[in-house]
């Protein structure tokens, strides 16, 4: 079973990112579950979503304690949240950033999702859409297939800019 924890802020679409990821995994023929963690949820407060992917039905509901992958959609949450908490040895970090931070001991991948979203004019109510382009990055990392990522996005959004942004993230990310 592959476990992913997504860090973002309320209102940024972290829950949708989890859902899209689960959908893409489903298209890949896998079983997936996704769940937001409900603490005191307020717009702008740090939130966490969990995604599990496996070849067999997933029977675990308790929180992910040692994820294989941590995704940070909003780097500013790191000021108050230990995003690396529990990350498995050899685990990976994917961060929405133009720069690659140094997380000692963990393979770190960065891609400027915000920049990509702004370039594609993928902005809603003043906020750049991060949850569709991140799927492109995850496809590049081999978490889901590129085709399934696109199917998942198209299953939820009619605006093709979402797919374009995902493709841009796929291209821009270096493995």
């Amino acid at each position: 079973m592959f476990e992913i924890r997504i860090h973002s802020r309320g209102g940024q679409g972290g829950v949708t990112a989890a859902r899209l990821l689960a959908m893409a995994a489903l298209h890949d023929g896998k079983y997936a579950t996704a769940c937001p963690f409900y603490g005191a949820e307020r717009r702008g407060a740090p939130v966490v979503s969990f995604v599990r992917i496996d070849d067999h039905p997933i029977r675990v509901y308790s929180q992910i304690r040692d994820p294989d992958l941590v995704i940070v959609l909003d780097a500013s949450v790191m000021e108050t949240v230990d995003v690396l908490n529990g990350l498995k040895k050899g685990g990976r970090v994917l961060i929405n950033s133009a720069h690659k931070p140094d997380f000692a001991g963990f393979s770190t991948y960065n891609v400027d999702l915000t920049g990509i979203a702004l370039k594609e004019n993928l902005v809603v109510a003043g906020s750049p859409i991060l949850n569709t382009p991140v799927l492109g990055a995850l496809a590049k990392m081999g978490i889901v297939s590129a085709d399934s990522a696109k199917s998942a996005i198209r299953g939820m959004f009619t605006d093709e800019r979402n797919v374009k942004a995902a493709e841009a993230a796929y291209q821009e990310m270096s493995i």
Binding site: R19, L26, R59, V60, Y61, S62
Partner: protein
Amino acid sequence: MKEIATGNKAIAKAVKQALPAVVAAYPITPQTEIVETIADFVTSGQMKSRYIPVESEHSAMAACIGASITGVRTFTATSAHGLLYMHEMTNWAAGARLPIVMANVNRSLGPGWNIWAEHTDAMQERDTGWLQVYVSTVQEAYDTTLMAFRIAEHNDVLLPVMVNLDGFVLSHIMQPLDTVEPGDFIPPIHLPHAIDVNNPTGYGGLTGPDQHFRFKWDIERSMRDSEKVIAATEADFAKRFGRKYGPVEEYRCEDADVILIAMGTLGKEAEVAIDILRKEGIKAGSMRLRWFRPFPKLDLKGKEVVVIDRDYSFGYGGIVAHEIMAKCRCDVYSVIAGLGGQEVTYDDMAEFVRKRRIGQEFWFGVNDHV
């Protein structure tokens, strides 16, 4: 059709396909998505039902009762305090022999306000005459809701059915969902005692001490008959749609020495604990009780039993544990865990089994395993 859906959404989708004529509901966390999705289906024309945004849960059940007695299919949903607020009327619905289906998102009772999973809310309805089932996956929530309408409306039953799902843990988790084309799986409703101005009847009026008990016996008789109806419905569902359900879901029980029993999502995650214990050489199995009313027959002869209660009856004990002890005439290790959404993992459950002391009660997080 395969998709990703939350437990709440899955139930709303099943309700859409069952097509109740009337839905009367009041929002309460964590049930709100059910109510909002149905309101959306109705206003967008996808669901030709009438949606009544009542002003309280007592009124929600009262409105369902009023609709149901005309002979139409009805549905409502609630949770915790909402369920308790409608308690007078849930009793009424069962006594009035109305096949209302209700989704209850299990949540704890305040004070303090706590919006997370606990079963005590539905447990307080166990004496009412409602059938009760506890689901553990999004797929099961959808399938069971479809079946609930057929079971409730069967002529041998004519009792309301409550579908329980764990607050947030199941109501809000997204899992794969395969929706079906029900076809004629749910037959059109026919309520024998529906209001008929050409055959005017008084409903629910005064009954004296020499008659009242007969009506209560009627309820119990139907409750006992419902077992066969449930079995037949589940068998037909399996035949048509390929997914099998029963009163209890057993996992690796055949040669087990110790059985771990739980309901809802804990009952599903328990299977992971069983796999861990088996690897250690402990011959453990798990039983997830689905149907709680009518209470299922359990074969626990010669096994040690560990029961997890996500509920409690103060001054007495874990409700499921005590019902099992009474019905099966056995002793158990009663674990009280998960109250108010307390995190309980498969590792914790494996430890409950390893450290079991038959005949004792253990409050997870309060007592230490001695």
